[in-house]
Subunit: 197 residues, 2 copies
């Protein structure tokens, strides 16, 4: 019996993955509102009903896409920090990484802003997302301070605000020197900042 049960389960997992990958690609290019479930279905060779077998709505697909990207970023950041040995370099690399997918970044910026409306379907998701991010950034900063890489007065929510706010300015205006501004800020919070240019 076991193989017969396992196989469809594994196929289901694989299908879900395919749908999520297709959705991220389509949301990134067409935006959330511009994307139709039918386009996502067509990309993975399913009917609309086929997609709805795995996800109840476009909204649920979006929430899962966002969540998965968030989950992926944390280990990515920790690995990059371990490799570079520098908190500032890891934050810089995180931004370089994000800038490679401006559509995904735009999706996050727009969805988080829209979700400030308490009646928005993603309100709770983003509220929880920011709470988790504050905890995560708080823990990461605590370690960076212990290692003597960041000044004691730096707070997680402020660092998150700097990243969010600079990204917004860059998305609005691609000529804005996002990395230059970020590096300038990172120098001000480092324990032994070098001379500012």
């Amino acid at each position: 019996m076991k193989p017969a049960v396992r196989k469809p389960y594994a196929v289901g997992i694989k299908r879900r993955e395919e749908i999520l990958e297709a959705a991220l690609e389509i949301f990134s290019v067409q935006g959330y509102r511009g994307a139709a479930l039918a386009d996502i279905a067509a990309r993975v060779g399913l009917t609309l009903a086929g997609v709805l077998h795995y996800f109840s709505s476009k909204e649920e697909i979006l929430a899962t896409v966002l969540q998965r990207r968030d989950e992926g970023l944390t280990p990515w950041f920790v690995d990059t920090w371990a490799e570079t040995g520098s908190f500032s370099s890891a934050v810089h690399e995180l931004m370089v990484h994000s800038m490679q997918s401006p559509h995904v970044l735009r999706l996050f910026v727009t969805m988080s802003a829209e979700s400030t409306d308490p009646s928005h379907p993603s309100h709770e998701y983003f509220q929880q997302r920011y709470r988790s991010s504050r905890e995560h950034f708080g823990e990461v900063l605590r370690q960076a301070k212990e290692l003597g890489q960041v000044q004691p007065a730096v707070s997680g929510p402020v660092l998150m605000a700097v990243l969010d706010g600079l990204q917004l300015q860059w998305l609005l205006d691609p000529t804005f020197d996002l990395l230059g501004e970020l590096d300038g800020y990172l120098q001000t919070i480092a324990v032994n900042p070098g001379p500012l240019s």
Copy 2:
């Protein structure tokens, strides 16, 4: 002739003001998308056609509302700075002032995020708004540095990012300690910061 020409002109100015005030009030409560031009018209005792005599669209009203609020904030900030004598206190008061109108704040946060899409009707307005804000903040910070109130390494875009990003976190979660985080940040950029709590 002159009085005859002047009177309708003055009436037109007054009407425009009334429409803008009504629109700000309605946008603030119902949001931009939820607000109908007809509601704005009803509030000022005009027909829809009457409103369209002064503004071509809801979008144009929104752009004017945003622009006027922006214009009002600059002299307000300069006055508050002069009164308190402290750059940090003026920024703190600016935030207190903004928090008194969470709907207006939400309107700005949502519109600026949506406008990152180059095809959005407000894209150019927000692009220009952020460029102007960077110039304005740059000039204000230059003065604050000359007065020895702010550390030389602080940049206008980063300060703007901190304000935008913290506001977003607060709008998503009213239990977030926006003013506490802002004050903590302001202490880190002050020239002679007091002890951090």
